[in-house]
Symmetry: C2
Subunit: 418 residues, 2 copies
Amino acid sequence: MARKNAFYAQSGGVTAVINASACGVIETARAHRDRIGKVFAGRDGIIGALTEDLIDTGKESPAAIARLRNTPGGAFGSCRYKLKSVEGNRREYQRLIEVFAAHDIGFFFYNGGGDSADTCLKVSQLAEAMGYPIQAIHVPKTVDNDLPLTDCSPGFGSVAKYVAISALEASLDVRSMARTSTKVFVLEVMGRHAGWIAAAGGLIEDQGVPVVVLFPEIPFEEEKFLARVEELVARYGFCTVVVSEGAHHADGRFLAQQGPRDAFGHEQLGGAAPVVARMIRHGLGHKFHWAVADYLQRAARHIASTTDARHAYEVGAAAVELALAGHNAVMPTIERISDKPYRYRFGMAPLAEVANVEKFMPRQYITDDGFCITEPCKAYLRPLIRGEDYPQYKDGVPVYATLKNVAVPRKLATFDIH
Amino acid sequence: MARKNAFYAQSGGVTAVINASACGVIETARAHRDRIGKVFAGRDGIIGALTEDLIDTGKESPAAIARLRNTPGGAFGSCRYKLKSVEGNRREYQRLIEVFAAHDIGFFFYNGGGDSADTCLKVSQLAEAMGYPIQAIHVPKTVDNDLPLTDCSPGFGSVAKYVAISALEASLDVRSMARTSTKVFVLEVMGRHAGWIAAAGGLIEDQGVPVVVLFPEIPFEEEKFLARVEELVARYGFCTVVVSEGAHHADGRFLAQQGPRDAFGHEQLGGAAPVVARMIRHGLGHKFHWAVADYLQRAARHIASTTDARHAYEVGAAAVELALAGHNAVMPTIERISDKPYRYRFGMAPLAEVANVEKFMPRQYITDDGFCITEPCKAYLRPLIRGEDYPQYKDGVPVYATLKNVAVPRKLATFDIH
């Protein structure tokens, strides 16, 4: 079989461990130089392929590539750029194939969530229709944990760990202050559609912290919510609320949309946390504090979960192995064998079954009252946040990799993206 | 000299390492059982003394006390309760002395910031006036780093480390996304009057991150600020803004007060970050993200600085040593001998010179344009964030101490606090 080059791109919102997947792809490809020639990366994701702005990862030393394993963000750049239907965007799909052909690329590794699984599938289909041989493998990544057919998605375990630790630490702070000051702490976390990240806040119940979790999966009812907060404050003296950015009313209005408008009538700039905090002040009169973790949560490589970092590396490696085994239009999946001890193996899912399917929290993972997580959910989450995969430090801050990102000389005419 | 009991209380906002000071006080007192009998702690701070709600720390095992060293929050509870002038609150000061006398307390260790230094001094003065012998020692603590006469205050180094790491990690995230998505990330940090915490965000310049810091010490000018952001975005493609909650206009209006009002005309609930983010959207049109770290920053024991955790323990120990050496109405101070290698020793400051004095960022620590920190400031900050004093973990979350907090039987009539 002729040796072919590989193309790797990062897609969508980045995570604390997406570079570990890049590391897994590149190191595994380097171990198979007889089959895989160069590994090119897309500068700023798929845009790099469309504009023929390829990075030659071969210019990076083994040490630099190894350091990717501990570096948050997307080392080659990512983008929010969705290729739509093949019909409406045939020009762009064809351009991808042209770029692949110009650089002798036979392997396409696309590292992202549901949208990129869809793109990956379409690239594979169009290449086949055009008679260009490529193996397109999707490398799963999403902090939202909403990809189907895999037990979990790399990126999620670390954000879940960050949320559990942050909620616990802030709760100990509030507990200290509750007698004369703050009684309720509200932490807003990510998860527009699925409540997996918010669910991790529920783990701190095991540390004796009274906590209310607001999921996108459970329509928000203000009266019931305030009653639950008051019950916990009465019993414990304080309580912590972990609210998903996607929490919404039964009619679909997001809590975050309920905020005040400025003088220009612009909607306030987010988020759910200040809205929930205001409800608590107006409804119960308690002093509160609120935090919005935003990017801090998905970038927090300093406290990445060992399980997650390992998963991220291994799905990258598994993607290369699947390609070498001749697969196409598939995604490596993580299959859980047991919770305790935590054991898993890798499987494979066809992209046709992955693309455009979102995995929500099952109802049985949420308590009957809708405000916390059940024991089966905790058993699911615990192995994913286990272990502290610390980066190295220098002068008090982590040593994160910045690559040279040397451009590959262009061979084609320029191409305008929309 | 007769053996006397000691009283220890935590005051004001807690920190990631205030319990390390408690540990230093208690362990050092236990090592001097010939001079110090029991160590009582105030439940919820000074309120515990006023209401005679004392905790017998002798009921805690050495292992439990040792674990305080790694536990954030205030293990005995803290409070925001300021004793005012002796004239206006004579009844309360007298009550304190009565409680001390009833429990044979000869040592008063008060762990807090500027306000508690003032209270500590007044207790000492009134006790002397009443002829009750007590040694009142202030144990410095404040994330704000605004206590005078000490090179730094325990609690600050860890929050500074948290801010530097968080700003760096989020910046790597933004850098990845900047081509098609977020170009400016805004992080709001604590520091109502002094910009020490915000200053720590400036350290990430050394990692090649374009960063703008907004200090309370520098009056905010929107036009100049937007020009600086635009300059950085043009050059680097993205930029990070670290804004102090205390950032304000020349006329004293806080940025955080500029937000929209809700339907009831209530001021929006904070903070400076969404206000700055809105300016960037309106003024420059860039996509942004913002985070408000709030309690997460001052509770982040999981990434406490080794220097800070050590300082915190040592000031507790030093306070006991000062008391045993016969001092009264003083505070142990940290005196820096050299930056590199970092060396320091303990000194002592009279509380009369500590109380009600705030230490601001010196102008020479801020760049001429007012938007970042200078090399001398970096040299000051670096040793304070050095080292990672990790707690132990179980099942992915830190093992933090929760004490039994056994109450000492009351001897006096009840007392109503205002």
